[in-house]
């Protein structure tokens, strides 16, 4: 059995779930990693070390920046010529798009955001959450190859074996495209909520510290945002200490406290970290659906009746401006940092 594993990366930064996909592929035979882009030597090396038997590199200037059409066409051509049984991807905005298009080219289907994968007879069966995680479905795909994007941090990451190598093949890019990429605007700090093991999130409560005096000359809205930024600075300190990422509620995003890339919930990201600390977040259903599958949830809120406590493992009724910095200090001491 042969599996293609698409290694998704942004300017050389690989989505860790790509390695998890190599681990999964190895359960079913040969794992062939696909690496697209320019200057990809480091990624190729890592793909071998994580267990790829073969790496197909498509190094072409036209693939320097991700663009849906040439990426999808290149993938479809490779799949058409070497007939893999299965193509695995980490679930990202890019892979949903290129897998979607490739599946049309190859007359097959894509199972997205897969959290379980097994073989039943000669059929792959994928488990995926639907209805915002309220139900789980098992699905099969009758097309060939079966295409599946896996959720990050669900499947085990294989151990990296330094120095391991395998067969290196050069693939050809299909560069026909209907659209043009013009590069990235001042990148928002890379927010990778999907892969974070720890997320510390702030909500509307982060702007609620009347004792802070904003610089003179600010109107009410500017003062609110300024206060919120002081609150998010405390949240960021804790997140950095724990090696995690910063999340936010939609109220915080809509308030202009922080960018949309940080939003957790129905219209933001669905996350499953090991630890989720919600600060000044009430726990509206649209937020909860994005984080309730975290292993351990801690809620810090002024209001003892806030619904977020119903989802939490640990709760603190209190002012986040006092509790969060105190928690950072306590963790620092206990972690010996």
């Amino acid at each position: 059995m042969k599996t293609f594993v698409y290694i998704d990366h942004f300017k050389g930064e690989v989505q860790p779930a790509s390695w998890e996909a190599i681990g999964l592929a190895k359960n079913y035979g040969t794992a062939v990693a696909l690496v697209f882009g320019a200057d990809t030597d480091e990624i190729t090396k890592a793909a071998f070390e994580y267990g790829a038997d073969e790496v197909i590199v498509v190094d072409d200037a036209a693939l320097t920046d991700y663009l849906a059409e040439p990426y999808a066409s290149t993938l479809s051509a490779l799949a058409a010529s070497s007939s893999p049984d299965l193509i695995l991807f980490p679930t990202t905005a890019r892979t949903r798009e290129m897998a979607a298009m490739s599946a049309v080219d190859l007359s097959t289907g894509v199972l997205t955001d897969v959290t379980g994968f097994e073989m039943n007879g000669d059929q792959f069966v994928a488990t995926r959450p639907i209805y915002e995680g309220k139900l789980l479905e098992k699905t099969v795909c009758s097309g060939k190859p079966v295409m599946a994007t896996i959720r990050g941090r669900v499947f085990p990451k294989p151990a990296r074996e330094s120095g391991k190598t395998g067969t290196l093949t050069k693939g050809v890019a299909k560069t026909d495209t209907l659209s043009t990429a013009h590069g990235y605007s001042a990148a928002e700090s890379a927010v990778n909520l999907g892969d974070a093991a720890v997320i510390v999130s702030g909500g509307r409560g982060v702007s609620n510290n009347p004792s802070l005096t904003p610089p003179a000359g600010m109107d009410e809205k500017q003062a609110e945002v300024w206060r919120a930024q002081q609150g998010f600075a405390l949240i960021t300190d804790l997140a950095v200490l724990l090696g995690g990422a910063v999340g936010a509620s939609r109220a915080a995003v809509d308030g202009g406290y922080i960018t949309y890339a940080h939003q957790v919930g129905q219209t933001g990201k669905v996350v499953t970290p090991d630890l989720y600390i919600a600060c000044g977040i009430s726990g509206a259903i649209q937020h909860l659906v994005g984080m309730r599958n975290a292993k351990v949830i801690v809620a810090i809120n002024k209001d003892a009746d806030a619904p977020v406590f119903k989802q939490a493992r640990y709760g603190v009724v209190g002012d986040l401006f006092a509790i969060v910095p105190a928690l950072t200090e306590a963790m620092k001491k206990k972690m010996g940092k």
Partner: protein, 256 residues
């Protein structure tokens, strides 16, 4: 400019969704327009305001989905079309994209077809790119901002790593995200207009297409095991005292 907004009807987030006889059931919870698709309608109306033209809301679904289309009309869409057919019962995502592509052709094409990012129910997030691939138009996905200039569309894609600018010649397929702007509330006039509207219902025969055979099928449906969530409230003399106890609890969970 001719703009089509693709919308789906889904059970509301608050709905208690269960399995019943192997089928999905949401009791009598209300069905609503997929929240992401409100942004699609909003984006379409913004483009109409900027360049003139019409907005048509398009949905593949059951008879009840007329309510979701009426929501789009109340927001300001000019007209709405429902594609409904008993033969659509087991279609998958590619199938839905084929039906949408056929309906877009039947409408007479468009300059822009705008999708939401993902649905709340099945949530594959594949339909926009598949529809684009099937009709052979460029795909500008996850747009947070749309600019039209002399037959070209340029968008800022909102990605985790930053904003990528991508452009293409019309006609184009777009999907939009929340940064496009808050969906407007239906106006009083809009609601009146929508309540009187008769929404045409097209069968597969009307759009000259056969029911696409599904490649993806569901074999089992389960409710995830309920997590025991007994909250333990941490109290203490002072913030430092509480923090100290909480830190011990977190460390004991061995999640760091």
């Amino acid at each position: 400019m001719k703009i089509i907004a693709c919308i789906k009807q889904v059970p509301d987030s608050e709905a208690k969704v269960k399995t019943e006889g192997g089928q999905v059931s949401w009791g009598d919870a209300p069905l609503v327009i997929n929240p992401f698709d409100e942004y699609a309608v909003e984006g379409a109306l913004q483009q109409k305001e900027a360049s003139g033209g019409t907005v048509t809301a398009l949905c593949v679904g059951g008879e009840s989905a007329k309510d979701a289309l009426k929501h789009a009309l109340a927001m300001g869409a000019d007209d709405a079309v429902l594609v409904s057919d008993a033969a659509l019962n087991d279609i998958d995502t590619v199938g839905a994209a084929r039906v949408l592509a056929a309906a877009i052709n039947k409408i007479g094409g468009a300059d822009m077809v705008i999708f939401g990012r993902q649905t709340l129910d099945n949530g594959a997030g594949l339909t926009p790119a598949q529809t684009a691939r099937i009709i052979g138009w460029p795909m500008l996905g996850l747009a947070g901002q749309i600019k039209v200039d002399a037959g070209s569309v340029s968008v800022e894609r909102v990605l985790e790593e930053g904003r990528q600018t991508v452009s293409a010649k019309m006609p184009v397929v777009l999907s939009v995200v929340q940064s496009i702007g808050e969906p407007r509330y239906p106006s009083f006039m809009g609601i009146r207009k929508a309540s009187k509207a008769t929404i045409p219902v097209w069968s597969l025969a009307d759009i000259n297409t056969a029911a696409p055979a599904p490649v993806i099928t569901r074999t089992e449906l389960t409710t995830p095991p309920a997590q025991e969530k007994e909250v333990e409230m941490i109290t203490g003399e002072s913030a430092a005292d509480i923090a100290d106890k909480l830190a011990d609890k977190i460390l004991a969970e061995k999640v760091l």
